[in-house]
Symmetry: C2
Subunit: 339 residues, 2 copies
DNA sequence: ATGATAAAGGCGAACGTTCGCCTTAAAAGA
DNA sequence: TCTTTTAAGGCGAACGTTCGCCTTTATCAT
């Protein structure tokens, strides 16, 4: 009801004690007489007092904010991750008294400067990084600065830092094992360029699964390119135009967008998806279930990852050494009609 | 390089002036001798000084934060909006010296309390609301509190507040006019429940277009239900099972998810989409272009909306009366093979 | 009665800014 | 020469907390 800001002093005046006492009582750092307690609580209630967060942070010397920035996807790509990931971070942060501060993603040299500025201006107590790859300059920088951060995704193995990641290799392995179990022998994979750590991780699962079943991994079945519809389509057309005895019967794509490209290519060649050609994607984009036929895919526990990132980061920020500094989460295979 | 926090006093000591002078010089509020200026700038550079944002906000009595909260979509739905909308807000906010503060979305009674807390604790200077509908309690509350906010979406017409919205009626009208232009006469619409303002707005465009062309809007062609795949599919099956002379030749869906449901239904009945039955969606979800056939849809200028929301809100927060308190943005029709 | 102990709460200081007003010395006007 | 103006910068205070230490009064054991 009160329009103007209510401070500790207002509460104190009304309760007839000093404002510092009110502070201590509210923070449970002081014993007071029951009737004093009552008066203070009444004053707080009646005035609708809420501690001013800025002043509190000022005094604490920190911001209780977690910096987070993400690469905006180009038009035509989906970031179905963001909603889940950010929501779960925000929620988990709220529980432990933090907020998430999104800031604009910068490319190149300016990127590290953005992080430096946020640190120096006291805007954040720590960072969650996403879109991490090999040699990530942010990781190098934050390690050198000894500033708390958690990466969603791994980077160079020789760097020691806290991360949360999804076991991409396990996801692909599961999918390929499923295909092998269904009798497929000629299984191709639509992979990503060699400089993608995520891509290499997921590819490794394919190699592992094939090898475990004594299947020779024919080099021609491993195609690399950007993870777009067009690339997925082109790669698949190439595969489908191989001689009949070498043409793959199953295709694993490292993301759903490529898998959808593969579906388009199969349709162009008149193949029935799921029967003539099995296709499995990765990410389990929300649309995957509505495709025709519905696309099998590997689902990642994104919300769980967001929660873990925050949990880990807050432990680091507050100086508690967390039980595990590296968290690897297991994805799950969702089988639908495409495979 | 310096690990510890650098304050105005550190800079002042190094430059040999008082710290208040440094403050004024850096804020351009004071004339000093050129050589003093030089010394200050050098000290700032060498120490890597950045003003502490918390202290600055403390002094200013405000947070330079914009509160934003969104309804997390249930699994299986996409929030392809969020990335664009939030990114553009964050970017625009950064330009004018603000940050966006995401906070957990609460349902029911707790929702307004969340807003009240954020205000009272001085956490935010204003709000951007999304998922606005009729009788939105947040709008009622914020109007009564006279706290600055901008709604992304309209609400009760009798309430006077700042909003940015996309002209849904115009979008649907454009789409339906296109269908009429292509010779369609029996055009059905998959609409939303009557309590959805967005749904009613979009539906109005359909009615307008039909009426403008003297086409009777057959009540049986207006179906209402939740905007899900299943509902879209069921509605379409119902429509396709009408007698041949009453069966619609075109279907307009109020979102892409329903449109995809319609596509599934058409396929089940053995119809060729785009030829036997035209389908147009709304939202232009990223996947729409990759469907088979690619789905025509109405694209909304989301990034523009995000920018406008921030621009408008900051004007309100800073007491500048903006040139227009209501902004209606035009969507555009993207024609693909489904229509 | 007397000193020790505990309970209840007051008080000053500090976090890092910005703001308004004051002081000093040099320059300009008479 | 004396007063007035201007330039350059100093200084105290305040924003709303929390923290540590101090004071007062009542309680207890001796």
């Amino acid at each position: 009801m009160t329009a103007t800001k209510v401070t500790l002093k207002d509460v104190a005046a009304r309760a007839g004690v000093s404002y510092q006492t009110v502070s201590k009582v509210l923070n449970g750092e002081m014993q007071v007489a029951p009737e004093t307690m009552e008066r203070i609580q009444a004053a707080v209630r009646e005035l609708g007092y809420r501690p001013n967060r800025i002043a509190r942070n000022m005094r604490a010397g920190r911001s209780f904010m977690i910096g987070y920035s993400w690469t905006q996807t180009e038009p035509g790509q989906v970031n179905h991750i963001l909603d889940q990931f950010l929501s779960s971070m925000v929620r988990e942060a709220g529980v432990v008294g933090y907020y998430v501060l999104p800031f604009p993603f910068q490319e190149g040299k300016a990127q590290v400067e953005t992080y430096r500025d946020l640190i120096k201006s006291g805007n954040v107590d720590g960072f969650v990084l996403s879109s991490v790859n090999y040699h990530d300059p942010r990781i190098q920088f934050l390690l050198k600065q000894q500033f708390p951060f958690v990466a969603f995704g791994r980077s160079n193995p020789e760097w020691d830092f806290a991360w949360v990641d999804i076991d991409g290799a396990a996801g692909t392995r599961q999918a390929v094992e499923y295909l092998i179990g269904r009798g497929h022998r000629r299984i191709a994979i639509l992979a990503w360029p060699e400089d993608s750590r995520v891509g290499n991780d997921r590819l490794q699962g394919y190699l592992d699964a094939m090898q475990a079943d004594q299947l020779a991994t024919e080099p021609g079945y491993i195609l690399r390119g950007e993870g777009t519809f067009e690339v997925g389509r082109a790669m698949t057309l190439h595969l489908l135009d191989l001689p009949a005895d070498r043409r793959p019967t199953a295709i694993m794509a490292l993301n759903d967008t490529m898998a959808i490209g593969a579906m388009a290519a199969a349709r162009e060649r008149g193949l029935t998806i799921g029967t003539d050609l099995a296709i499995i994607g990765f990410d389990d984009a929300p649309m995957a279930q509505y495709l025709f036929p519905p696309l099998s895919s590997v689902r990642q526990p994104i919300a769980e990852a967001g929660r873990k990132c925050v949990e880990l980061l807050v432990a680091l920020v507050e100086g508690r050494e967390p039980q595990q500094r590296q968290v690897l989460l297991q994805p799950s295979l969702i089988i639908r009609a495409s495979s």
